[in-house]
Symmetry: C3
Subunit: 322 residues, 3 copies
């Protein structure tokens, strides 16, 4: 897939499809822009007129609550007109191709598409077929990427830990099936993190996981040793009874994040999770609700980060317009 | 359940969960505020900027058309940003607990939740777990309460009958399963109504119905004698073929409100129904469409009453801001 | 059905239910008003405040993507408050009649209903039962009419071909089941088109098709000869395996619009389709994507035409208010 499709001729963000193909300057610009939008969420009137009269379509080919809702809120707080389109129940059932559906939507003068799809590459495909004036944001495609999730995670980390170049990270769980982990690893590498460890069973790790620039271990205790940031992944329900895992209980026994295990990490380590959590499967409730957990801050920050990406893609990244 | 959770430290409405725990002054304030909002619905531009930039989430765990739609309209006419969340098809299917779902939504800086749930106490539970700045409105919880419905009924009564302290009421039907009836009875008592009669079969009446301060009778004709206001309840479809009732036809024979029976009431009696009506089951069409019926006025008034409650809970009860 | 229900006492558009009953002056006024709204879609901020504070309900008793979405966008770009009501999943399931549902919605002070229904005459029925201040737009009723689709087609034709009185038309396909074709034929007749040909198998043509003022032929090549505008109809999936048609392949063999057949038409002929297309059934992909095709322009124009009809029905047709 093209590396430059995401940038316009001036090197500014046009589409946001994956962390790959971007650079540290641009990631930092996203984080800085999001910083400006945090204050909008704390105002009495949580609204700026930046995207007034723009039309944004949320194209969700996969169900989602958290991601769809925070995009929806980010768009409304930017004053855009929002179309929520659930593709399962719409024109594709009449036999229309994805490309026809897309061309029809662009003929409706949609300015930006937010796309979630179960197929890796779907957002890239759509970005390759929209007119020059239209932007595409990837809200999760197959096992490939979920770049706004990775950026809200980076934003949350930066709020707690100043310098990415001096941090040690552990990503725990089902990296094999996780678009979130893939985007996180690329972002951490790009921001200069010196050490990222992936922890999980062999059956849930990509076969060449170390090619991503990470260290892999099946030993939870060893993997957590001294880390500053622990990123838990969600264990998809469909994995729990399949050939890859023996049982929920056994998974928790080996890879559940307990208070006991958390002691192996740095004393001021933070714990992250993209949600929704399976309490008692990948994480103990006492940890999820502890002072180490920044899980709900991730949700709040997700709105500011999505406002930043939306406004940057529309080349209007100044929240002072409020 | 706590009696004071609904009020802030200044005795002002913060949550609106049930009529119980409030007082006549506050109920009257709701009715008076709603009076100010009636004019908004009659304007060419039915919109005031009172809640601009506020985010309201309608959390409906049970399906609803009328209540959800009138809340939605009330919120839009107050210029709020509205999220409609149908919980059946969302995150709880991924195994997340209600509390996690709620914490995630509050992390999205929702200002107010409108909640409908099949479990009695659900709105109270949610109100106990939201941050200080967030309000909760109960849009119906199990068999417990439906306080905005009761208040729109009180508002409609007050439009037609000046003084609550001189009126006789009949509530007819399935009081056993009706959160509407429970809230109505509390409101009528609080507003000083001297006589409330409950009419229905023994099988559909709470076992200690008279503890609510009402008179109970199974005799429709006797119950209607001289009343000023007749409140019909909806007979849920699931009751009609169960052990509690022999048949629709027999129910109508004993408890259907016919023109003939209506003659037993005061000459200027009004007839109310929360909708949707089962014509020919609990009410004869000729009565539903007669000059006595104020059923459609209840719907219209519901928007003004909901605008009043929403703006009061957000402490911004002045519609002159338009 | 009444011919004058669509017009108010000053002869202005109040409801838009069918092309029949209107006149050439009014159709031209719709096209001219739409012309003014085209520029709104090309602005950076695609929004005018014409219907601010008005409430519009999209009542879709049948599923739809394109029509519902373009109405939704047209309404939002006019700044109306929009209620999207899918009737399959709402109050009618509680046993309420259509008339009760409608009366409840009008009690909510809805200003305009956009109605799609599988029963011919549904929009007329609703128009006959709303209060004087309320307007109804037919977004497709059974096999009867789809007048906004016909008007967006007329608008698109006028953009390419100046004078309706000098054009030859071919409408190809399932005219028997098509509300689109019926509305197109009435509009073309009213605008003075001298020659409209209907092409299709006998089994898919109304028994007295020539009573509509058109010429009928089963011969695709002969029918296309020298025409200026080719209007393809969608072949409904349910026809493809029924008694009316042998197979998709055979339909394409006789009635599919191929590049070869297109040569029979005028050299500058345009090709239209209401969407969604069945590529390879009623139309060859090379034709759908060729320079003759104006299919995506139809979609774009649909928004401007719907904005025109909505604003005219609300008697506020000046887009300069922006």
């Amino acid at each position: 897939m093209g590396k430059n499709i995401q940038l316009d001729s001036h090197g500014r963000l046009r589409h946001f499809l994956s962390i790959e193909g971007l650079n540290r300057t641009l990631l930092t610009e996203i984080l800085d822009t999001a910083e400006n939008f945090v204050s909008v969420g704390n105002r009495a009137a949580k609204k700026v007129p930046l995207l007034r009269g723009k039309t944004i379509a949320n194209l969700f080919f996969e169900p989602s609550t958290r991601t769809r809702t925070t995009f929806d809120l980010a768009e409304k707080r930017l004053s855009a007109d929002v179309l929520n389109i659930n593709i399962n129940t719409s024109a594709t059932t009449k036999g229309e191709t994805l490309l026809d559906t897309l061309q029809n939507l662009t003929a409706m003068q949609i300015d930006l598409f937010v796309v979630r799809h179960s197929a890796s590459g779907a957002a890239h495909f759509i970005a390759q077929h929209v007119p020059d004036s239209v932007s595409v944001i990837n809200a999760g495609d197959g096992r490939h990427a979920h770049p706004t999730q990775a950026m809200l995670d980076m934003f949350t980390i930066r709020k707690h830990k100043e310098d990415f170049t001096r941090l040690r990270f552990a990503i725990v769980g089902d990296v094999l099936h996780s678009r979130v982990a893939r985007s996180q690893i690329h972002a951490l590498n790009m921001l200069g993190c010196p050490e990222v460890r992936v922890i999980g069973p062999h059956t849930l790790s990509p076969s060449h996981v170390e090619d991503l620039g990470v260290h892999f271990t099946t030993n939870m205790e060893a993997g957590l040793d001294g880390v500053d940031v622990i990123i838990m992944l969600r264990l998809q329900n469909e994995r729990m009874s399949g050939a890859l895992l023996p049982s929920k209980g056994e998974y928790f026994h080996y890879y559940g994040l307990t208070e006991q295990r958390l002691k192996r990490a740095a004393a001021d380590a933070i714990v992250m999770h993209p949600g929704p959590m399976n309490r008692g499967v990948e994480i103990e409730s006492a940890v999820a609700d502890s002072g180490h957990s920044v899980i709900l801050q991730q949700v709040t920050n997700g709105i500011a980060v999505r406002m930043a990406v939306l406004s940057m893609a529309m080349q209007q990244s100044n929240p002072e317009g409020a």
